[in-house]
């Protein structure tokens, strides 16, 4: 198990995060660029020093700022796959994979079988004599994984392992990589900016925002109960935060949020409440809707995003107060002649609001 509490200040950026990660599972650290994801990896790997906090792997202290402990990376039982794989350009595939064994002083006769096993695990035995520049992106990724896994690390660190691949390759590799990670007995930390990858790979997900943990949880918890606008955007839903005590005047079943008043089924107790509205619950119309929906917001369309890219549904970003994202079918887009700048009404029922504390 990895126990990490990391604090590091660099110029204007301050990282301060803490999380645990269990062996045999994948913990995804997700956030936008500049959220501190790479800093997390570098601190856990020991490539950078902690200002304060600690890193402990399976009970072994790797770093502890309090007693100025810093085990250098080459003495940590880790594997690290860099964002663009960083295969040594002057070494053949087999020598890249053997690098860590040789550096660590593994006896020569044990190196070759270990390298062959690692190449076999990744299904790239036939590449062993190639030079890195002769490999495709997907092949390079597998070599980088083999190079890290041949050391049988207790902790595997992956920095945006799919981002260097083209979209076609990425889909195929994603499935393979997920199957591989499921079989590994080590702690895996997977860093990405992609919400999709976070939900595909993350047994647990740590959401970073501005150098801090915005939320930690299983992917189900994140999907059902996002607790910050950032996480809501990540999982693709509309989130409002408010207090039940701030009930809109004269209405027992509405909540005032900083962004606006939202009618809900039951406002509940006096604590902070989180409200989510699935984009699919939101109906769009060009004229003021009549009938049952209690929540109607007017605004104009900021952006239309096909979902998935090239898919049958379209996410419609609105500048309503509060800002909303609706998801409608392609047919609806053409029927309503939706495009950027068009004025629309967004409506949803009080019963369509999911409330949690």
């Amino acid at each position: 198990m990895l126990d990490a509490q990391l604090a590091k200040r660099r110029d204007a950026f301050a990282l301060d995060v803490a999380f645990e990660a269990a062996a045999g599972s994948t913990t995804v650290v997700v956030g936008e660029s500049g959220a501190g994801k790479t800093s997390v990896l570098r601190l856990v790997a020991g490539l950078d020093r902690l200002d304060s906090g600690h890193v402990t792997l399976d009970g072994v202290p790797y770093a502890d700022a309090a007693c100025r402990l810093h085990v250098p990376p080459w003495q940590r039982n880790i594997g690290y796959v860099a964002q663009d794989y960083a295969l040594f350009p002057h070494l053949r595939v087999q020598d890249n994979v053997a690098f860590g064994l040789r550096a660590g002083g593994t006896p020569g006769r044990r190196i070759r079988p270990a390298v062959e096993r690692a190449l076999e695990l990744l299904g790239i035995g036939e590449l062993s004599g190639r030079m890195p520049h002769q490999l495709s992106g997907g092949q390079q990724q597998r070599v980088a994984l083999a190079r890290a896994l041949v050391l049988e690390p207790r902790l595997l660190l992956l920095d945006e392992p799919l981002s260097s691949l083209d979209i076609q390759t990425r889909r195929a590799v994603r499935v393979e990589l997920r199957n591989l990670l499921r079989r590994l007995p080590c702690v895996t930390i997977y860093v990405t900016h992609s919400p999709v990858e976070a939900l595909v790979f993350g047994d647990r997900v740590v959401v970073l925002d501005g150098g801090r943990v915005a939320q930690t949880g299983s992917r189900e918890e994140l999907l059902r109960h996002p607790r910050s606008p950032f996480v809501a955007e990540l999982v693709g839903t509309n989130l409002f935060t408010g207090r039940a005590t701030d009930r809109a005047a004269g209405s027992a079943d509405a909540i005032r949020t900083p962004e606006g008043v939202v009618a809900i089924g039951d406002a509940g107790g006096p604590d902070t409440v989180y409200l989510t509205v699935s984009p699919r619950e939101i109906m769009l119309s060009r004229t003021l809707p009549e009938g049952s929906p209690q929540n109607i917001f007017a605004g104009s369309i900021v952006e239309l995003i096909p979902e998935p890219p090239g898919g049958e549904r379209v996410r419609v970003v609105l500048d309503t107060r509060p800002p909303l994202v609706a998801e409608v079918t392609r047919e609806a887009v053409s029927a309503l002649a939706l495009r950027e700048g068009v004025q629309v009404y967004a409506a949803f029922k009080a019963t369509g609001v999911h409330r949690y504390t």
């Binding site: 790997a45 250098p72 940590r76 350009p89 002057h90 004599g129």
Partner: protein, 281 residues
């Protein structure tokens, strides 16, 4: 306007090109004419005859030997310094850089005098060296020291640039692959910087080969002991112009070979490596 601008640009391009060719041509003439006239001055057959002269052979052998030794010393001592300058930040780094570059701008005779005051028999370090039986002035070892002194900046500069060019990500990855810094240095940094290291070594070898001022000041001009090729040229000039020309042509050929091998080295190495791989398969 848009219709006019490209034409004006093209006209400006032509004017620029003409002046570039004119100025560049003048420079090539300035550099090339003396070299061409040097080669034209002596018939090739004459050159071959002169090459048999034992005195000339002696000077040539001494030159090659001392310049090679100086290059090896410079490379061995320069690698760590270049590594430090490329990878570390420390107080006095700028001062150290300037200090190492100094021999490049220092008049070689001044370098020779400085070496004498340091390693001469009454010099700062000369006394201590003399006590253990080592004498530098007016010895072959002194020639090597003089050459190393003036050639060092060429190697350190190139090696430093070569190290700085290697992407840090390779060093980071190596560190996570059980490689301590020393291992990473030998197995990652040096191989990846190899083209720059070779170029730096070749440049400092060429500089050592051509060394004159520091050598004659510090080591003197004794045939077989300290008389290198440039010194032999100077000496021949006093008595026999043709001999001086022959020696000069020889030195020119050696220098040209060194320079061409630098230019060809990276691509040649790649080609050789590719051939080796094909053979292995």
């Amino acid at each position: 306007m848009p219709a006019v601008a490209p034409r004006r640009g093209a006209a400006g391009g032509i004017a620029l090109r003409i002046s570039a060719v004119a100025l560049g041509g003048t420079l090539v003439l300035l550099l090339g004419l003396p070299l061409v006239s040097l080669v034209l001055r002596i018939p090739p057959a004459d050159l071959v005859v002169r090459l048999r002269d034992p005195l000339i052979l002696q000077a040539l052998r001494l030159s090659l030997l001392t310049s090679l030794a100086a290059t090896i010393i410079v490379a061995g001592l320069g690698l760590p310094v270049a590594y430090l300058l490329a990878t570390a930040e420390f107080r006095g780094k700028r001062a150290l850089e300037a200090f190492i570059d100094l021999p490049m701008v220092l008049p070689p005779t001044v370098a020779g005098v400085a070496l004498l005051t340091a390693f001469g028999r009454t010099g700062l370090a000369g006394h201590a060296l003399g006590a253990v039986g080592i004498s530098l002035p007016f010895t072959t070892l002194g020639v090597v020291v003089a050459q190393a002194f003036v050639a060092a900046p060429f190697f350190v500069g190139a090696a430093r640039a070569g190290f700085a060019e290697v992407d840090r990500k390779y060093l980071d990855v190596a560190a996570t692959l059980r490689a301590a810094p020393g291992y990473t240095f030998l197995r990652v940094l040096v191989p990846l910087a190899a083209p720059s290291l070779l170029a730096g070594a070749a440049m400092s070898w060429a500089r050592a080969l051509g060394e004159f001022g520091a050598t004659i000041t510090f080591a003197g001009n004794m045939p077989g002991v300290t008389q290198t090729m440039p010194l032999a040229v100077y000496l021949a000039l006093q008595s026999d112009l043709d001999a001086a020309v022959a020696l000069s042509v020889l030195l020119l050929l050696v220098s040209l070979t060194v320079l061409l091998s630098i230019r060809l080295t990276p691509s040649r190495l790649a080609a050789l490596a590719a051939r080796a791989r094909r053979a292995a398969r």
